[in-house]
């Protein structure tokens, strides 16, 4: 059976800059897969390209075996793939409730959308208390929760989450991961998550890809990578035992 998501030899270019060089990855139904890598490794670009926000110069992206390259983001959202982008991108002048409603309009069934919102708010009591607030007034952690909830409102099968822990306190990050894993169970979500650091994610993820310089350096089961040496080597380009950095990328 084909994987839920397959990315094959994907390359993305911004002007003169190659952001992604022939990167490949796959995600199976029900998995939690994590991409880790330093700033500028191409993680966000990968997720944006999958969600249709960035057009690749070459390569293929398949959802359930069907190519989705070149489709508009709003079409890809209708294939039940949803992105929580880096920096959250909350609609600050809209109320929390309106932010959530946006995700539900696509379903075309108001009653179902409302029921979905009710169910979802069970996971996010903080948001329920602030439904009528302009979203800009939420704290960083609350905004991140809203971003996740809003994406789940589109009833995705595959949820892409770009650096959910960015700029948040460790306690809040734990909460968010807890909710993500809860949602995974309840909503039967498949997760593809970007993170800069591997410490927390190794506990949750089934599989890991390490991205650096726009290319996949290492991939493997999280269980096999827990000692950290292979990740460190891939992340920095040299291992903890090496005496000197062997930087090759120009």
């Amino acid at each position: 059976m084909a994987a839920l998501l397959e990315v094959e030899n994907l390359s993305v270019r911004y002007g003169d800059l190659m952001a992604l060089r022939s990167a490949s990855l796959s995600v199976d139904e029900g998995e939690v897969v994590c991409i880790i890598g330093p700033n500028g490794a191409g993680k966000s670009t990968t997720l944006a390209a999958i969600a249709g926000g960035v057009r690749p110069v070459s390569g293929d992206i398949r959802l359930e075996g069907r190519s989705i390259v070149g489709r508009r983001p709003e079409h890809i959202a209708r294939l039940r793939l949803s992105l929580v982008p880096e920096g959250r991108h909350i609609f600050g002048t809209l109320t929390v409730e309106e932010n959530l409603q946006i995700g539900g309009y696509m379903l075309g069934d108001r009653a179902a959308a409302r029921a979905g919102m009710e169910r979802l708010l069970g996971h996010f009591p903080r948001l329920r208390e602030r439904l009528r607030y302009p979203a800009a007034r939420l704290s960083g952690g609350e905004q991140q929760m809203l971003a996740v909830a809003r994406a789940v409102m589109t009833r995705p099968r595959l949820l892409l989450v770009d650096e959910p822990s960015l700029g948040l306190a460790p306690r809040i990050i734990d909460q968010i991961y807890e909710i993500l894993l809860e949602l995974r169970q309840r909503e039967k979500l498949t997760l593809l998550i970007n993170e800069q650091s591997s410490a927390r994610i190794l506990k949750f993820a089934d599989r890991i890809y390490v991205l650096r310089g726009g290319a996949v350096q290492v991939e493997g089961r999280a269980a096999d990578l827990r000692d950290g040496e292979a990740i460190h080597r891939a992340y920095f380009g040299f291992g903890t035992q090496d005496s000197a950095p062997a930087e090759t990328a120009a």
Partner: protein, 304 residues
Amino acid sequence: MIGFLQHLIDALALGSIYALTALGIGLLFGILRLINFAHGDLITVGAYALIVPAADVTARLMIGSWTPAAVVVAISMIVVVAALLTDAAVFRPLRTASPPTLMIASFAVSYIIQNGILMFYGARPKAVDFWSGANVQITIGALRVPLLQLITLAVTLVLMAALTVFLRRTPQGVQMRAAAEDFRMAQYLGVRGNVVIGLAFAISGVLAAAVSMLYITQSGSLTFQMGVPLALFAFVAVVIGGMGSLAGAVAGGFLLGFIVTMLQAYLPPDLRAFRDAFAFAFVILVLLVRPSGLLPSRTTVERV
């Protein structure tokens, strides 16, 4: 005191026209980062659609002679179609272009519309007698108020209220506000970008059509560039109101109407002629001192 009240009523009427025009420009700027100078020319299109297409100097009414309800519907539809055409032909292929490029493109559209009208109707101004009955004056106490000014104000308030309800209460309106704030994010959530943009162009067309009819009733003359000064002043209103905020655009329109009327009334005669220079110097001042406008929306600040 009576004199001041009289000026105030003039200011409200003028401000209504600016506010309606600014609303159309502000709506598209919010969603597309497009400063649409061709909006003024859509107003011209609506005005010329009232008459028989001919190069004669005296204009004969065609659509303009129908019953008022039919006129409103027909003119609105014509301008909406024209607005949608400008989007389909020029702005849609430029979706990823930068704001200055879009501004240049809107100049091109403006130039095309103006010269298209010139081709069919000729360059000379035309006198037109359209709904001139609305120009009667009614007296309220010691004030003489042209009925048309009251109509203009009422139409503006009704359209603004309708637009507000649309944006607050309907799914399309909420999606439009979301798209105005973060277009790409809205798309990620399944909002159909081109539908929202098309709808925004259509609404800007309705607003332009309203200005066409109100303005022609008041001025009684047509020229192929009549929309240009309206677009310029509305644009000032949008800037001083805070680009991207619709409430700001409306407030900016009324504020500008007030400033222009009061400058005209109370400036020493020698300086009165430089009214426009003062108005646009004020734009530069606002950009320098309060770049997010006098009534900024919370989120558009860094994007201007």
